[in-house]
């Protein structure tokens, strides 16, 4: 049972952090500062053109 407690506790800690950041991003619309990362895939093609295919 000790394993179960340890594993579930670790999951719960991570889940709390993840859920917290998720909630923060939803409520406050945060993290836009990392859009440079989000934009990094647009190196090869224009971003203002919708591609059909």
């Amino acid at each position: 049972m000790l394993y179960a407690y340890l594993i579930v506790t670790a999951m719960a800690i991570f889940a709390s952090v993840a859920a917290g950041t998720f909630a923060w991003s939803v409520v406050a619309g945060q993290f836009r500062e990392l859009d440079a990362g989000a934009r990094s895939i647009f190196w090869d093609e224009p971003t203002d053109e919708v591609h059909g295919g």
Partner: protein, 474 residues
């Protein structure tokens, strides 16, 4: 417009991966067609057991396993690796090295899956679900996978970008996770290392993780690439996409043991599996929220873009199937639906509604860029989409309702077993009809792929859209 340098680099990247990617993608379509045929035969046998009953190699036990392995290692794996080999050069800006070698790997992969499916039909299955191929074939497949993984990691090492985009996180993780899963499970189960209940635990650890740590990361990596590219807008929250990645990495690995609720395995291990399954709501919510917020204001593009339509359908299915899976893992739910058609409906919503639809979207995005030819017919794409969407919709709804009914009747000791079978029959017939719709979809898809890959000279025309774009540039 991309400048000349970028255009040259792009041409070089596409040229480096064109032959292996096309080998994998075209082979995958052939396996999809064969897998559909095997699925239809298996499905019809469930309500008409006399169908093809004279051929022992087409008995349900063999055909069903042959279907699963043809679609898992033929269609899904080859499509996933083909898309991966196209995405990684784009994301790393490093050309693929050894394309001829990888074309050979693709053909060996085809030969191995042919051998494996033939072995299953001939009665040489290992009878371990998702791992029915005999051990020598499985080990050779692992070597082939390693060759693809080495090529992908080589590009990652030589990458010309500092930033590792979220898609690359997912794709790289697969290169590490899947070999560990596949080798551990095969050697443990078929190499005589594991005995007793440890076999069941390893079996379901593997079988569930094939979905969560192989096909899911590749599909999500593809979604995070194709969706922003088509609508021309970055994903809503990049940070959130990474939270989703790490939550998947942490939780999914534990979830498989929920398959053993009520089984003779340590209760705490199953409990951990159930807890992890519920924790999966976090990465699922991040993907769903990110997709919705990214798409907000762009939903009208679903009317025209084939790639977007398939990918968004896949993303929405991911949310539904994952939430369903989390609650299905709970003991109370599992006790009713586990050994019923409900589970089959769930599995198909995941492998088809989510994964395959995103792969279809990736095909519609990748092939014109790789071949220089556009899709030959919007009508074929419409047939593909609507037969797929309606087919998987009917399949899922029928087996979900039928499965719950089946489970409740099975749990009632006063109901004779034959009555349970009779009650399930209409749902199984609906399953065959929806399977037929899916097969029609795949034929339309295959015709489109053939026209794009093997059509005439390269064209210089506008993308094939499903209707008139709304507004300028859209």
């Amino acid at each position: 417009m991309a400048d000349a340098h970028h255009a040259q680099l792009l041409a070089r990247l596409d040229a480096s991966c064109r032959r292996p990617v096309l080998t994998f993608l075209v082979s995958a379509v052939a396996w999809l067609l064969l897998g559909s045929l095997l699925a239809l035969i298996a499905s019809i046998k469930l309500h008409s057991p006399e169908f093809m009953a004279d051929a022992e190699w087409l008995t349900f036990g063999r055909v069903r396993a042959a279907h699963l392995n043809a679609v898992a290692y033929g269609w899904a794996a080859m499509a996933a690796l083909g898309v991966l080999l196209w995405l990684v050069p784009r994301l790393t800006r490093a050309p693929l090295r050894g394309p001829t070698w990888l074309v050979g790997v693709g053909w060996v992969w085809n030969a191995l899956v042919t051998l494996g499916v033939s072995a299953i039909l001939a009665g040489y299955s290992t009878s371990v679900e998702w791992l029915e191929f005999p051990l020598p074939i499985a080990l050779c497949l692992a070597v082939c996978f390693a060759a693809v993984a080495i090529a992908a990691i080589d590009m990652l090492v030589r990458r010309q970008v500092e930033h590792i985009y979220v898609s690359l996180w997912y794709l790289t993780a697969v290169m590490v996770w899947f070999p560990v899963l596949y080798l551990t499970a095969n050697i443990g189960l078929h190499g005589g290392v594991l005995t007793g209940v440890a076999q069941s635990m390893t079996n379901w650890w593997f079988a569930h993780n094939v979905l969560g740590l192989f096909v899911t990361p590749i599909a999500l990596g593809t979604l995070y690439y194709v969706l922003p590219k088509v609508i021309g807008r970055p994903i809503h929250s990049y940070y959130l996409s990474l939270v989703g990645f790490w939550a998947l990495a942490l939780f999914y690995n534990w979830a498989g043991l929920h398959h053993l609720v009520g089984g003779p395995v340590p209760m705490w291990a199953v409990t951990v599996g159930i807890v992890a399954s519920m924790m999966m709501l976090i990465p699922v919510a991040t993907v769903a929220y990110n997709q919705h917020m990214t798409m907000r204001g762009h939903f009208h593009l679903l009317r025209t873009s084939p790639a977007l339509r398939f990918v968004v359908f896949g993303g929405m299915s991911y949310f539904v199937v994952s939430v369903q899976g989390s609650f299905e893992a709970l003991r109370g739910m599992s006790e009713v639906v586990h050994f019923t058609q409900y589970t089959v409906g769930h599995a198909h919503l995941g492998m088809y509604g989510f994964f395959s639809m995103i792969m279809f979207g990736a095909y519609y995005f990748v092939l014109p860029r790789l071949t220089g030819r556009e899709w030959p017919s919007p009508a074929l794409i419409q047939v593909h989409f609507w037969c797929s969407a309606i087919g998987i919709g009917v399949y899922f709804v029928a087996l979900t309702i039928g499965g719950i009914q089946q489970g409740l009747l099975l749990a009632d000791a006063s109901v004779p077993f034959l009555e349970v079978v009779q009650a399930t029959m209409p749902w199984l017939q609906a399953r065959s009809i929806s399977g037929l719709a899916l097969t029609v979809a795949h034929l339309a898809f295959a015709a489109g792929v053939a026209g794009t890959v093997f059509g005439g000279p390269s064209q210089d025309r506008a993308p094939t859209l499903l209707g008139q774009p709304a507004g300028g540039g859209a």
